[in-house]
């Protein structure tokens, strides 16, 4: 597994947990959420770029959502509502810092196109939608970082198609068992860990015999 290498990739999307105790928390009538805590990547409400700041205003039980791209968000944050003047300068500063950490504009990796559907990673970033299933292979390095930020995970757990080839199902089972093993070790449940290790070994042996 090379996941550890990939998670270093920087993307403009941040994990919501990184915001814990941040300046956004004390603002009373706003609930800020970053992609990852938002469900779908959205277009900016004011232009057509991808939204990176998602604001939910709650007023007397009424909910208003606002989705803004980087530049519109800067404008929005520079015009704080009158009752929030106190809190906003701080938010603004932090937001500017966030923006500076972004990837450089002319990253050649952003220009690589999927041979199957022709989409580039840059296009994906502006639209928020991938072009075809193949993209998950072509943009795998970039997606690792993005998925880790959105879901806090990069490995699927759960249902898999019954029609998936047997070898791939075993591979899948193996990945699942290794995850469980890690968890067991972390929780210092060594009995469970030993059981899982034996299971992994026998599965691996079985797979080697087949090939």
């Amino acid at each position: 597994m090379t996941a550890a290498v990939y998670t270093e990739v920087k993307t403009p999307f941040r994990r919501p947990t990184a915001r814990k105790g941040s300046l956004f928390q004390p603002v009373p009538v706003f609930a800020h959420s970053w992609p990852g805590s938002s469900t779908v990547m959205k277009k900016c409400s004011r232009c057509s770029k991808i939204a990176t700041l998602h604001i939910t205003e709650i007023n007397e039980g009424k909910v208003d959502e606002l989705h803004l791209c980087e530049s519109c968000a800067k404008m929005y944050l520079n015009q704080p509502p009158s009752n929030l003047e106190e809190e906003f300068p701080a938010v603004e500063v932090e937001f500017a810092e966030l923006m500076e950490e972004d990837e450089p504009e002319d990253n050649p990796a952003e220009e690589i196109a999927c041979p199957s559907c022709g989409i580039t990673y840059k296009e994906f970033r502006s639209k928020g939608r991938l072009g075809c299933p193949q993209d998950y292979i072509v943009f795998k390095p970039q997606l690792f970082g993005l998925l880790d930020n959105i879901h806090n995970a990069t490995q699927h757990k759960g249902k898999y198609p019954k029609r998936a080839p047997e070898a791939s199902q075993k591979q899948f089972e193996l990945i699942k068992l290794r995850n469980e093993l890690n968890e067991a070790v972390q929780q210092e449940d060594y009995e469970e860990a030993a059981r899982l290790r034996d299971k992994i070994n026998s599965l691996q042996e079985g797979m080697q015999e087949e090939t």
Binding site: V40, C132, K157
Partner: protein
């Protein structure tokens, strides 16, 4: 199955039965799935989209099920019919409004709907009345298996089911329940609920999903993470947190009654009175008043009306439903008159039957 019949019936999910129906209107699970050999809908030209629609439409129609699916080509429907399907929660606003080949497959009871060529090739939905996520999962898991036996899904060992947007990749699942929380809104405690839910990565949205206002005190609570947790884990997450929200709402209702029973009874009776006698009424006011009345029934302050009727009125008083009932396009002012007439008739009817 004809679309016009829909205006006379109501979806299974509105029948107001099942566990916790005083607060939980419905439970819903959706799965996002894509075909392995095609580009995602946003990247497919119209010829390809047509091919996808035909391939999936014919397969869905032919599935052997106790509740067979009926397929509609969305592009060939009138605007009012597309809107009708949106109001009944059977398709998304996005599917109704976008261009190109697209379709929906619906079961007669309206608890199963499969959108073709929405954001993903397939958006499978199962919607049941009450707090019934296990039943939803059982049904949708079976349907998913059935579809998968006919077509090849895009799937990777690493990322799971592949979707157009990385926010849905993995299980492709969204688990949600629709709650009616009038007391938490009245006592202004609803914001605390939002904050608590946000902390554990759950989303709160209005009646019609993404970006919609919380009309009639209805809130959809749903999961948002799809990668790294199994379907069962995500379902369990929601199953564990909902009871405390129900508890909060019930406590708020009790507190309202305890603080001033007369005032609350008065407010609810007035709401009921307006609905029974108004000559013109907007959609917003209707939702607002129906919400009071619904709570009134649950608090035993209104006796002659039943929950399923109120649930149905929330949906049947929406614009496309009213226009279907009248068989013609109505402007906003005319709709308000039509809505008031419909409410008077329906409420007089149910008064008659209850007595």
């Amino acid at each position: 199955m004809k679309l016009d019949e829909l205006t006379k019936t109501s979806g299974e999910w509105l029948r107001g039965s099942g566990p916790e129906t005083d607060i939980v209107i419905s439970s819903r699970i959706r799965l996002a799935r894509n075909l392995a050999r095609y580009p995602f809908p946003n990247r497919a030209d119209n010829a390809t989209r047509k091919e996808i629609t035909q391939l999936l439409g014919s397969n869905l129609k032919e599935l052997e099920r106790s509740n067979p699916l009926y397929v509609w080509d969305i592009g060939s429907l009138e605007e009012v019919d597309r809107q009708l399907l949106v109001e009944r929660q059977l398709i998304s606003r996005d599917l109704a409004e976008k261009d190109g080949a697209r379709a929906v497959a619906i079961s007669y009871e309206e608890n199963v709907s499969v959108m073709i060529n929405e954001e993903d090739h397939l958006r499978i939905q199962v919607l049941n009345s009450g707090f019934s996520l296990d039943e939803c999962w059982e049904a949708i898991n079976l349907l998913d298996d059935q579809i998968e036996s006919k077509v090849t899904y895009a799937f990777s060992d690493q990322f799971g089911y592949l979707t157009a947007c990385p926010t849905n990749v993995g299980t492709g699942i969204r688990v949600s329940v629709m709650l009616h929380l009038p007391a938490l809104v009245l006592t202004k405690e609803i914001q605390k609920v939002f904050q608590a839910l946000q902390k554990i990565n759950l989303t709160v949205r209005g009646l019609y999903g993404e970006g919609s206002q919380a009309m009639g005190d209805f809130y959809q609570i749903s999961t948002q993470i799809t990668l790294g947790l199994s379907e069962q884990q995500l379902i369990k997450k929601l199953q564990e947190v909902i009871p405390s929200i129900l508890e909060w709402e019930r406590r708020a209702r009790k507190a309202l009654v305890a603080a001033n029973r007369e005032a609350l009874h008065d407010q609810i009776s007035r709401a009921y009175g307006i609905l029974q006698s108004a000559q013109t009424i907007s959609s917003e006011e209707t939702m607002h008043l129906l919400s009071s009345v619904r709570m009134g029934i649950n608090l035993d302050l209104i006796h002659e009306l039943e929950i399923p009727t109120v649930n149905e009125l929330f949906i049947h008083t929406q614009p496309a439903h009213l226009q279907k009932l009248h068989g013609e396009k109505l402007e906003s002012a005319d709709r308000n008159i039509a809505r008031a007439t419909y409410l008077r008739e329906r409420l007089a009817e149910s008064n008659g039957t209850a007595e």
